[in-house]
Amino acid sequence: MIPAAFDYYRPKDMAGVLALLQEHGDDARVMAGGHSLIPMMKLRMAEVPHLIDLQDVPGMSEISIGDGKIRIGALVTQHDIIAHEGLAQSAPILREAAMQIADPQVRYMGTVGGNLANGDPGNDMPGLMQCLDAQFTLVGADGERSVAAREFYEAAYMTARADDEVLTEITLATPNGGYAYEKQKRKIGDYATAAAAVQITRDGSRCASASIAMTNLSDVPVWSQSAGSALVDTEVGSDAIKAAVAYMLDEIDPTEDNRGPVAFKRHVAGAILTRAIQRAWSRA
């Protein structure tokens, strides 16, 4: 419950954030909503001698939609995602997923950027952003660079973000077609036993494109190109879905924990992915 002592900073702009990261190196961490970092600090599993609160940094709390693109500032909260009517129209999968993250209080504070940069395989947004082929903007001392969500996750808590970089924005093409974010969890607020993000488009009676990613079934989110391809040019009947599930099961690597043994998680993954594909297809 009681975190170790630290120095606290609340810079007014990104230059101030970057200067602190440069000065303190590994000893500094940025904090957005604080709903992963503070719990870890309270358990003394994260040691952060210099804590940089991002809340006063301007320009990272907006959602903008236009020209076939969606931009989400890293400090946009899960509550903001759920409340945004424009987003619910252009990318309804985001609201569907955000409603399944944590609980109301946590969603008022927890941000999309924090969810993505945390690197915990239990977080839901990483798999979702891989499904949607989002790009992450990282700002560091040398300027800005963009990394694909599909390239961002290296291992549990290890991402392509360097220690002195800040994730500032998420951009994605406005998704088309049907969607589903299906999550099996033990109770409200739990990380997934298995979750699947599916975005699918239809051409007549056939599937024109499909993107599939899964959450908490490996030490990173798993986007499976072959699982999506297995649906393309089919009528998304049970054989096609079985093939997609088989491809996905080849690529996940769940570990046993108190959500269940590996065999159970693989079973749940198949069931959840099947449901997600069926629901997405019914909406396509």
Partner: protein, 164 residues
């Protein structure tokens, strides 16, 4: 020793100003420094919601906020919602519908419920259960909490209509 922070808060309409170590959690500020002891601590993993307060219009778990983050904020706790002589509709309704037993979750429950009804004045039962999902109760089984909140919503809506 980290440098202490100069903190200003408004808690239930009262201005507070003090120096605090950065690692001070808002729940400890409220309970130990300001003696606002309605909000409780039921866990150390941000699940239970017993510490829920309203901060700048959001329901937050005050155990998961460092005092520096709250600097400058306007905070309402259960103590700011009503008085023993003039209960808030929700307080009256929790009493009337037996929405509490030990009372430990109640300050967080009612504070959260007040915000929920502000955002959604006529929730369905399902919306109440989902909107209250960040608050755990050991005693009631939730049924009477849901009843209390739905009854308070009706009463608040009726009062609003009567006033118009």
């Amino acid at each position: 020793m980290p440098e202490k922070l100069h903190i200003k808060l408004n808690v239930n309409g009262k201005s507070e100003e003090f120096l605090a170590e950065p690692r001070e959690l808002l729940i400890h500020t409220l309970r130990e420094r300001l003696r606002v002891t309605g909000p409780h601590i039921g866990c150390d993993s941000s699940h239970c919601g017993a510490c829920t307060v309203t901060l700048n219009g959001k329901s937050v778990k005050s155990c998961t906020m460092f005092i520096g983050q709250a600097n400058g904020a306007e905070i309402t706790t259960i103590e700011g919602l009503g008085t023993p002589d003039a209960l808030h509709v929700l307080q009256e309704s929790f009493r009337e519908h037996h929405g509490l037993q030990c009372g430990f979750c109640t300050p967080g429950m009612i504070t959260r419920a007040a915000k929920l009804l502000e955002e959604n004045p006529s929730p369905s039962e399902e919306e109440v259960r989902f909107g209250m999902a960040g608050n755990i109760c050991r005693c009631t089984g939730y049924q009477n909490i849901v009843k209390s909140i739905l009854a308070a919503a009706s009463e608040m809506n009726a009062a609003k209509e009567a006033a118009e």
